[in-house]
């Protein structure tokens, strides 16, 4: 029996990298969004510019389930290289859309999958002379065929084409024609629509479709970043591009053309963070964006910035490691590398946004934290958040909001004769006052160094002042606990002794998994961590539960280690659930893993409670 589903399915496009499929696929995805149903698109792409296989997946979910689901209901198999594997991956009862211009042996198809051959190459060869056009319009033609098969309003796609090529009439017409060719062919060839289909709904609201890197780059603009130094590395590059794009639009003086920002592509990641540290020391809001290998290269500077107390913001868009690892796949595997970056006793502030919404929010807030705490702040994105478009609440900004520049002594403060000790803790929060170069002709100058010094920034190798300073840095770290974004608690419908801790891009799949578990009467309280060092709620949550699952996208249970060292939690109480094959974690995976471990713990108890 073919799958029957309205506004609830997963469609996957198997393409060849560099064949121009990306814009056609995005157009397909947006048409469903325009018809009022939430979508979660994801790119699965290789480290390659042209020729290797690439996939694009769209989860269509009337209920707004936006995590990766797993499995494919409709496969659009456009890559001969991966055809057999693609066919094999379709769910029983699913559908296969393929190019039937050349006959495919029946043995390569499946009895339990509906095969829908559309002669796309043939149609395009007939209509277009230019080989490049033949290739490009093949992509648009399959979108047309899908519109017929899935009952997508063709007018919606036509409008998207109009908008995309606004002002380029020359491009609009042939695209519309290609769309129509695919649409008409499928209509004539098959009984449309299929059992899987799209129906107009009103479940999107005012949400926006945006990737996390664009959101974080925009956040840096709103957060007042003026200096960006960076080195290209997947998957972080588009974050800097977003910052540059928005600055060029919003931060250039109309009259003079002068820019209220500076972006330098550095010679490497070491120079990138060096420039950020120099700019932060000199009172500008500065950031870099990188990924794991870049974090490794920056280590020495992180120690300097921690010890010399210099604000810096680092966006780490995590990818599969170690080494080059899987550079186009997602992981949460830099948690420990960032938390304890550098040599000696160091520890750093981390923020864990769950998607583009928080990537924007934290992308701006990180600069406040960095200046308030005078230390590096890491915004821990990952490839799934950063490079995939996610349906998110619209960005919001309160125009009354002021930047928190932290404890910076002004000319007036110094002129008044206010006492200045660069590393002097005057109010017990561990955060000293600083001055910016050029502040005052005769007061407030000091010598910044990575070497040990006393409260007045005077060089010393004596044990007492060194320990005094290190203890103050610990006090400052404790101050951070109450300053940073609080974790988000989701209480189960019933009281339970089972808890789960998660963070970052796991959030969407976690929500769905918790519902699936609740439907089976397995109730789990969930806490989503949003920052390190942890606030008091985290320890309280763990103490209130018998067993706490810690769900992460890395092999070594890195957040679990952090929970153990930061809070002194007993290892036995924290049960790791780990997903690290480079694909985004799915609700199915979380559900399966927690269900397998809770039947003996939480389920009987909740049944008793229910009774």
């Amino acid at each position: 029996m073919p799958i029957q589903a309205v506004n609830d399915f997963v469609i996957r496009f198997a393409n060849v990298n560099g064949s121009g499929s990306a814009s056609a696929n995005l157009m397909f995805a947006r048409s469903i969004l325009r018809m009022g149903t939430p979508i979660a698109p994801r790119n699965i792409f290789p480290s390659n510019i042209q020729g290797l296989p690439t996939w694009y997946e769209v989860r269509v979910s009337a209920d707004g389930r936006l995590g990766a689901r797993g499995g494919t209901d409709v496969m659009v198999a456009m890559n001969p290289q991966t055809f057999d594997a693609d066919v094999a991956s379709i769910e029983p009862g699913g559908y296969l859309v393929y190019d039937s211009s050349r006959p495919i042996q029946a043995s390569r198809l499946r009895d339990d999958v509906v095969a829908l051959g559309v002669p796309l190459t043939e149609i395009c060869a007939r209509e277009y002379a230019d080989p490049k056009q033949r290739q490009l319009f093949k992509n648009v033609a399959y979108v047309g065929a899908l519109a017929a098969l899935l009952d997508i309003e063709i007018g919606v796609i036509e409008r998207l084409i109009d908008e995309q090529f606004k002002g380029k009439a020359r491009l609009v017409e042939p695209n519309l024609r290609a769309l129509r060719l695919g649409y008409d062919d499928a209509k004539a060839r098959f009984a449309c629509p299929l059992g899987v289909r799209v129906r107009r709904a009103d479940a999107v609201g005012d949400r926006i479709l945006v990737d996390g890197n664009s959101a974080a780059g925009l956040g840096a603009v709103y957060g007042g970043a003026t200096v960006c130094a960076w080195y290209p590395i997947t998957p972080s590059t588009s974050l800097v591009e977003a910052f540059a794009r928005n600055c060029a639009r919003l931060r250039v003086d109309r009259a003079t053309g002068e820019k209220r920002y500076a972006i330098v592509q550095a010679e490497d990641e070491i120079a990138s963070i060096g420039m950020v540290v120099g700019a932060g020391w000199n009172g500008a809001r500065a950031f870099t964006a990188t990924s794991g290998p870049g974090i490794s290269l920056m280590q020495e500077f992180f120690g300097l910035a921690y010890f010399a107390e210099i604000p810096a913001v680092v966006f780490d868009v995590q990818r599969g490691g170690p080494s080059t690892g899987m550079p186009t796949r997602t992981q949460q595997s830099d948690v420990l590398a960032c938390a304890f970056a550098s040599h000696g006793d160091t520890k750093h502030v981390l923020l864990f946004p769950d998607g583009p919404g928080e990537a924007f929010e934290f992308g701006a807030l990180a600069f406040d934290f960095a200046e308030r705490l005078q230390t590096p702040v890491f915004v821990m994105l990952d490839l799934d958040i950063g490079m995939n478009a996610h349906l998110s609440e619209p960005f919001r900004w309160d125009d009354k909001r002021k930047f928190d520049r932290g404890k910076v002594m002004s000319f007036a403060d110094l002129e008044r004769g206010r006492e200045f000790g660069r590393y002097l803790d005057v109010d017990g929060d561990g955060i000293p006052w600083r001055t910016i170069p050029g502040a005052h002709p005769t007061r407030g100058a000091y010598f910044t160094r990575g070497s040990s010094r006393d409260r007045y920034a005077r060089y010393t190798e004596e044990g007492g002042p060194y320990v005094d300073n290190m203890e103050r840095l610990n006090r400052k770290f404790d101050t951070a606990r109450s300053l940073l974004p609080r974790p988000r608690l989701r209480k189960a419908r019933r009281p339970t002794r089972a808890g789960v801790i998660h963070y970052g891009s796991t959030a969407a799949s976690m929500d769905e998994a918790l519902d699936l578990l609740a439907d089976e009467n397995t109730h789990v309280d969930a806490l989503r961590i949003r920052a390190f060092p942890f606030g008091p709620e985290v320890g309280e949550f763990i103490a209130a539960h018998e067993r706490v699952f810690v769900v992460e996208q890395n092999r070594d249970a890195q957040l679990r280690t952090l929970l153990m060292t930061d809070l002194g939690v007993d290892a036995a109480q924290l049960v790791p659930i780990l997903h690290y094959d480079g694909t985004p974690i799915t609700a199915r995976f979380i559900h399966r893993e927690i269900a397998a471990r809770t039947r003996r713990v939480a389920a009987p108890r909740t049944e008793e409670t229910a009774a």
Partner: protein, 350 residues
Amino acid sequence: MTYLAKPKFHHPALEVNALGLTHRDYEGAISTLCAGCGHDSISAAIVRACFELSLPPHRVAKLSGIGCSSKTPAYMLGQSHGFNSVHGRMPSVLTGASLANRDILYLGVSGDGDTASIGFGQFAHAMRRGVDMVYIVENNGVYGLTKGQFSATSDKGSKSKKGVDNPDTALDLAALAVQLGASFVARSFSGDKGQLVPLIKAAFEHRGAAFIDVVSPCVSFNNHEGSTKSFDYVREHNLALNALDFISGKPPIEIDSAGGDETITLHDGSAIRLHRLDGEHDRRDKSAALALLERRRARGEVVTGLIYLNDDAINLHQRLNTTQTPLNALSEADLCPGSKALEAINASLR
């Protein structure tokens, strides 16, 4: 070793500059380098140059990497902010600082280990970007703090204090700076204050990447016979290209002139008067500068003086077209586009 502040008292008749400041206002803490170190002479020359230029000390920022040379910013300009950063990374830290505030003068102090080895890449890229700075390498051809290893500027065949021959070719930082795109390149000798002070002044007035390679003998590890960076060797092999007499908007500093004079007007209106001791050298000709360095090097001579100058070079801020207001002085109103712009962005994402 602790931080030693200098006593504040000074002679009432000390000479004052246009700001009414004395030489003492430009000094720093007491040096902890070895007695007789060439680096201390360079610090004194920097102090003298800043005093003579009447630079407000707090408008100068001094940055360095790691090593003996990089400790020296503590021993000068006590009213200036200083930053002793990471080994070999002064150029990037200074670049960032310069981006943050274009209105401050940036002095980068480095050594031959810091610049020619670990920091070679950052040196190259700061020069090619045209970061507006004075980059001084205190070049002694040896690692002092770690006790006497060869550096990348140690001459091939020169002997270490332990009697070992250096087998590797030396880098000529001045020649490299010319090639890399520095718009002011000079070399001098720590013991030649008469030449060094005007060069430093001219470098401060230059609006671009100004590089000065200062040969600075190490009294502890590289001042023995067989070393090519010893006091005696450099004195015997020094070939002075020219002496500079620097004229800013203030009264000129007179020095005894000899040979053909030439006044160079810098684009900010200040001027350098060149005393051409070697009448052959055209300091605006890049290939001539490189050829001269190579020719003299082959003869074992150390060319000093202003080697290359390009007043019209575009510096980093000019290339980026950053606003005249320092970036670190911009406010929310300048930087944050606000909720209305955000609404438009939201609309474009639906």
